[in-house]
Amino acid sequence: MTMLQGMHLTPIGDGIILLEPTDGLDPGEPDAYLVPLAGTLQQMRARRLLYDLKNVPVIDTLYYAWLTNLASICRISGIDMVLVNIRPATAYALALTMEDNPPFACALDVNRARNLP
């Protein structure tokens, strides 16, 4: 497992990396995380990034902007980004505020995300 500021990264096989954000993550400062994270993902030869939302109860506009930024940098780096373990209440609240389709895929859990085409 690799630790970066505000997140844990765990390779789970086949170029798939599980990202678990910690309480230290500040979504208002994406520049502090994006470059080191992109570098680490490249070093790990990541093909797919699974962003675990199990411990994220609310996705507000700030957090959504962070996820969108991360999805953009993943796309440029040739990495698929998949959100996993989103809670029903979080999905519900986010769907009410979203204006466009999200730029990332979503899966119910890590296993489903691993098996996505």
């Binding site: 959100l83 029903p88 209440a89 999905a91 519900y92 986010l94 999200p102 899966a107 119910l108």
Partner: protein, 295 residues
């Protein structure tokens, strides 16, 4: 002499004295009327009617004895009002009629008024004060009964609305990992909220991969309804499931195009059965007739 002595007494005392002289008749009259109203429809048993009549008289006397004037904030006044609230609630629960109940309260008041008529010892002023006192107490009681009735009705309507919400959008797991959600009627914000909440919880619980949302039963679609549908489809996607919209009738399709609503990112099928076929295809499931399987 008697008149002088009576004039010094408060209205409450005068009324108590009047009641005491004829308490048996008053009680009998009220019970008899109660039996004719509540006994015939089996709303109350004879014992219950007698108990209620006696309790009413007791509480009324206690109220009159509490002071020289009736105090609306006194515990005795509250007790009497509470008694009628409970009484009317019980009648309602047993299917009784508010109108009959209010008539019964009026009858109780009439019993006292009739008593006044027969009492020649009271002067005009005293009779007037007793009349005002009775009117004030019984008006409060009728208002309370009416409030209880309205509150009960409101509770019933709310419960029916809740039930309707659940029954009008049944979410069914029609196949492993496939949920169907038929929507009937209109989709307003409150209904969307409840449908979305239930649907997302079911996706998590049943580990659904596909949700078929069928709008065959939606009579009309406007920009708000379509916005709610899109929100619903997005929420399904965020849970990692795929949404398929089915049953878009020609009129609805026309409305969607005139409203310039973009459903390009939504997978749509004409009928629920087509939607199910699409769901099976997404899950790589092939349904074959038994004889085809044999061959």
């Amino acid at each position: 002499m008697v008149r002088n002595a009576k004039s010094k007494k408060s209205t409450n005392q005068l009324l108590i004295e009047q009641m005491m002289t004829k308490v048996a008749t008053i009680s009998q009259d009220i019970e008899k009327r109660g039996q004719s109203i509540f006994g015939q429809g089996n709303l109350l048993t004879l014992d219950e009617i007698n108990d209620y009549s006696l309790e009413f008289l007791e509480l009324f006397v206690l109220l009159l004895q509490a002071g020289e004037k009736v105090d609306r904030r006194s515990s005795e006044h509250k007790a009497l009002r509470q008694f009628f609230s409970n009484f009317s609630q019980q009648i309602q629960i047993r299917g009784g009629n508010l109108e009959e109940f209010v008539r019964f309260i009026h009858f109780m008041q009439d019993v006292f008024l009739n008593n006044l008529e027969t009492d020649s010892t009271l002067d005009f002023q005293q009779t007037r004060e007793i009349l005002l006192l009775l009117a004030s107490v019984f008006n409060d009681i009728i208002l309370d009964v009416f409030h209880v009735y309205l509150a009960e009705k409101e509770r019933t309507i709310q419960a029916q609305q809740e039930e309707l919400k659940h029954t009008s959008t049944p979410i069914t797991e029609i196949w492993d990992g496939v949920l169907t959600l038929p929507i009937i009627g209109t989709l307003d914000s409150s209904r969307t909220m409840s449908v979305m909440e239930n649907m997302l919880a079911r996706i998590e619980k049943d580990r659904a991969k596909v949700v078929v949302i069928d709008v065959t039963g939606v009579q009309a679609i406007d920009s708000q309804v379509s916005h709610h549908l899109i929100q619903m489809i997005r929420a399904v996607g965020l849970m990692g499931a795929k949404a398929i919209l089915t049953g878009i009738r020609p009129e609805i399709a026309r409305a969607i195009t005139s409203l310039n609503i973009d459903l390009s990112m939504v997978s749509t099928r004409a009928t629920l059965s087509e939607g199910l076929k699409e769901a099976f295809a997404l899950l790589s499931i092939t349904v074959l007739a038994a004889d085809v399987q044999h061959h």
